[in-house]
Subunit: 299 residues, 5 copies
């Protein structure tokens, strides 16, 4: 997540370097072609590229909006994970009978829940998760988790089996058990929604259409100036096309929130916040500190 | 679902071939009519087609947005199916008493759930489902399923009856049974939402209006150029109209996500993912591999 | 619901005949006034009607979107009715004890549920419902239903009383009864949402404003052409204004989905689908066939 | 709620009378200033006000959309109140044991629910509610309700206490009582959502910005005409600005749906519909008639 | 929350003072550069800045809409807090047995719930909460709450533990306890949603892109006027750019609703309303008065 600080120039323009170069060359080719093939008498009314520009603006505005919606949905999902993690532990504290074992049982859930949060974030980003798992779980559990293809789902199943056991040993009533099962379902849903966003690329045809319009715009614009002003045509075409491309790339960055980029949903920080919250709620001795942000973003 | 790879040219333009030809001929007719009937003195201000173009752009932007919403809703539904399938099996594992039969009962649900996922996808695409059913169910069950008109619904009813039996034999308590029934309701809802999208074509009047505006635009534009430049008029009109049509066709492709096209919701891959997840959760010996994507899309 | 087929010309233009005539006369009046009162020197810049046109386009785009949302909501509600009808019957099959009476009880619910679906559709369209009721219910019940002011609500109450009786005779447990009551609540909600759409006309002030803008546009446009070309002014003004009006009327058609028009939500077909589904689920001997669509639409 | 009938002219324009006058004077001042201070050589390109106009159109389109959303949300809330009122009574009829008292108990709930609906509507509109309360409740109850600051909330609490009593006297089971409590929560939510809309004025800065843009537009437009045509400048500027203002005022009317205006949500009519529905369901002898609409609206 | 009153000029323009100055200087630099470097022959068509302006307008319209959505979501959350607070207390009144202790127990919940509302608001605004806590809770509780990092969450946990105790001492049944736990979950969700809005700054790249477009617009516009009119160029560029900036700043103000600004969600007033409601419901002797609004806003 980008913080509310100034962002380095390179971060913003790195992504359009290649396209900017392409548009620049393209503009040169068109302007020179116009000059050498004597196409000057082809005065296309300026209204034509303006119309294309309006269409591009509209598509970009909607594009930006859809990207924002994906980004915001990802953030909402992780907000829900925070809430449901807290609710899960509070429910256990309310439901479990006050026995000498109570805290031990709850701590096992806390560890597993923290592991789940970190591992979900790391899996979405394609990171290794073994180190994280060892931080929270016993070596035997870690091994069995690593043997599965979907680790967060395996952890959720462990949660389920542990609740099932509490129920069978009479520590949870029928109704309480089902209630906790509902909370686990909600967490499963959040996991599935993250996977959906991760695994569904934005329709490529839309990207293609937008770029087609931008190149069409860049090809027609030079024919609208009455005089052949190389120094006017090329910079203007390049600048405006690049501004459009920059908007498009910003949307692209935002729409994929689990790609280990500065614009990501700050999953690791959120997981740490959850860890701090849960450990405070359950009287842990050692509470880890908050994660410090990077230069201009958090992860 | 289109992957994040380059898409063959033919895929993009195949759909507008017929319309592009039509617009090209139409532009020729208009330009020639203008020439032969001496309508040159009819200088319509360029602002008129620009205005039409703005209106077309707006309608296209909203059209694109609505198509995207349908496509995204279809994806959300299948994401929910993933979540609810996992939750259904986890609930059974939590609720059922640990008896020698437990695994056998759960495996029957896993088989039926996998069958349901595949059959739902295949039915929506209008494919045969018999082979799929045989993959997961006994011949007797397959036959009774095939005798009904709505196969996924029949499978869901089988689920329901099996749960009812578990309840009547005392393996599920009142409350647990109802809880699983709620999960089945959610799956029924997802099925119904898919059918809704499949069976509700986008309002044809909208398509008609858009094409009316595009042809009006193509008819007026040639009258706005002061000189009679055949080589300018026809290509410009054709290019811009085709760009508009391309946008419209992209929206059309996206808005019907169950038509056995590359832009479909990847239902078969998702069903396979569910199969892998469920079989891993319930200690199957043989886990099938993931489906490989096609050239530039998955199904 | 319009099918994905070509639509007769008359259906599309019948609605704007009156307005088109009005705009045509209006354009004539303005153009002639301009000619006879020597207002030619009043050259209003073309940018002014363009601006009005942009504003009209925007309002129309949003208008179209809101109409689409209403239409889609109506379709979603009827999709939910399909799902909840299936769930209601599946719940009864799961919950009711296997007694000789079981099927008879369930069949009574199936009959009533089918009646409810058909009667809801017919009431929304303002049709007579007596014939429908007789198709599914005993004469005594029909009479008592017809005596109330809101027939679908009366049928829902019958459902409720029947469930209450099953509960009091011990055939449904406390919890199961409440669960079915929840399904009835959802069906009540769907009914209420249909009534809301039916009884809430789209704000008339919006329609008025749009038409004001379109007539303002039609009044100003002729003053922007430099030459007095009757054959240019009148057709252009008429064509573009009519295109705008056509868009508006299409939105109007779509926004009222329970008016017995081809653009309606196909409530009768959906009710028949529900009937087929429910009767297949409960082993009826005679399953009615699907409804055939009309020429280019279903109802 | 405005009916689908023609609306008196005065209703539409009363709201912009003051602003229209202001804009007219303003246009005169600008045009005269331009004339007397010889600012004629200041030919601002027409594209500048066009650009402002486009921006105004966009803001107005979104403004209109947001107002419509508020208006539609208010209608949805009252639709939900209809549904939940019916469900509440149906639940009681299903749950309560068949005793001689049953009908008396249910009638007490019906009276209170009707009172709640009417009183909620009247409170939102700032009306007196005492007369209404006397229509449905005993004098003692009325007095205690009037002593509180939030009358609908006090009525809801009465509902709750009555349910609590039914539970403590064993007429409702644990589970049934909680189910009814859920319905009461939903009604509380609807009440809270109405209060939210009532108590949250639309952000004033938006209104301010829009008016700033409109006045800026009105100030720049006269400088774009080449000739000094008083009779052209002033009417055009006034007409277009007023059209924009009219759009804005229509949005304002719609966004505040509880202000005792013709555009209000028809809360009194809906409350009467609920009264008729509930009384029919519970075999009242006297059913009140539907409320007749006013000239072109209902309240 | 801004009231529906006129707003001081300084409040509106304070925020863009710096940028307005910057744009003014920038416009001067561009206009002077154009003059001194004889770039007059560079007549860029006015359509280019118009196109940029259209794009800026579109981005601003969507920006405004997204800001409004955040602001409205914040208001919805606090509306939900009002509803759930009332429901929590009503549930307790319905569920708890009528014992001499009942009122004492409920009053403890009322105090804690009021504390939670005030503390949540104050924490989001970054205020001290100690004074508030002392207002409602015993010194011992206050101390333990202050020791945690997330005070509202600690209060919610206190609620949970108190409910757990009521359950273990048999004053709440299994089912009732879980029902109240659901209400606590909803309140936890509202808290988490507030934290999400607070901790997620709007994507900075969007702000950057918008400002880039505005400065590009301001740089190109002066080159479109044919004559070098310093007194025309500079004010026009400054005015229009500032109008755009004003729109952007209004959006920024609105999108961060927990920053102790006049545009904030009025959390303190709402918390006081909740306090009044809850205390009236539970027969407190002393009901605090409503909070008076500030000059043109409430907090």
């Amino acid at each position: 997540m980008l913080l509310d600080k100034s962002i380095p120039f390179t971060f913003l323009f790195r992504k359009i370097r290649r396209e900017a170069m392409l548009v620049f060359l393209f503009a040169n080719v068109v302007v020179l072609a116009k000059y050498f093939f004597h196409l000057r008498y082809l005065t296309i009314p300026i209204a034509i590229p303006t119309l294309l520009g309006t269409c591009i603006s509209l598509l970009l505005a909607f594009r930006t909006n859809q990207a924002y919606d994906r980004w915001w949905e990802a953030r909402i999902i992780w907000g829900a994970i925070v809430n449901d993690s807290r609710s899960l532990i509070r429910q256990l504290q309310m439901f479990l009978p006050v026995t000498p074992n109570q805290q031990m049982i709850i701590h096992a859930f806390v560890q597993r829940q923290c592991a789940w949060c970190f591992v979900l974030g790391d899996s979405l980003r394609g990171h290794e998760v073994e180190r994280r798992l060892h931080e929270f779980l016993t070596p035997a559990t870690v091994e069995s988790i690593l043997a599965t293809d979907n680790r967060p789902n395996a952890l959720m199943l462990e949660h389920g089996l542990a609740v099932g056991q509490l129920y069978r040993t009479g520590q949870l009533s029928d109704y309480q058990m089902v209630q906790i099962s509902t909370t686990l379902n909600t967490l499963t849903d959040s996991m599935g929604r993250c996977e959906r966003i991760k695994n569904t690329p934005f329709p490529r045809t839309y990207t293609f259409n937008l770029q087609l319009f931008i190149y069409l715009f860049a090809a027609i614009l030079p024919f609208c100036f009455e005089a052949d002003l190389y120094y006017l045509d090329v910079p203007l075409v390049t600048l405006i096309s690049c501004a459009f491309l920059l908007l498009e790339k910003s949307a692209v960055q935002l729409q994929d929130p689990f790609e280990n980029q500065p614009t990501d949903t700050p999953m690791t920080s959120i997981a740490r916040t959850i860890e701090i919250n849960l450990k405070t709620m359950t009287d842990y001795k050692e509470i880890p500190p908050k994660l410090l942000p990077y230069d201009y973003y958090t992860l």
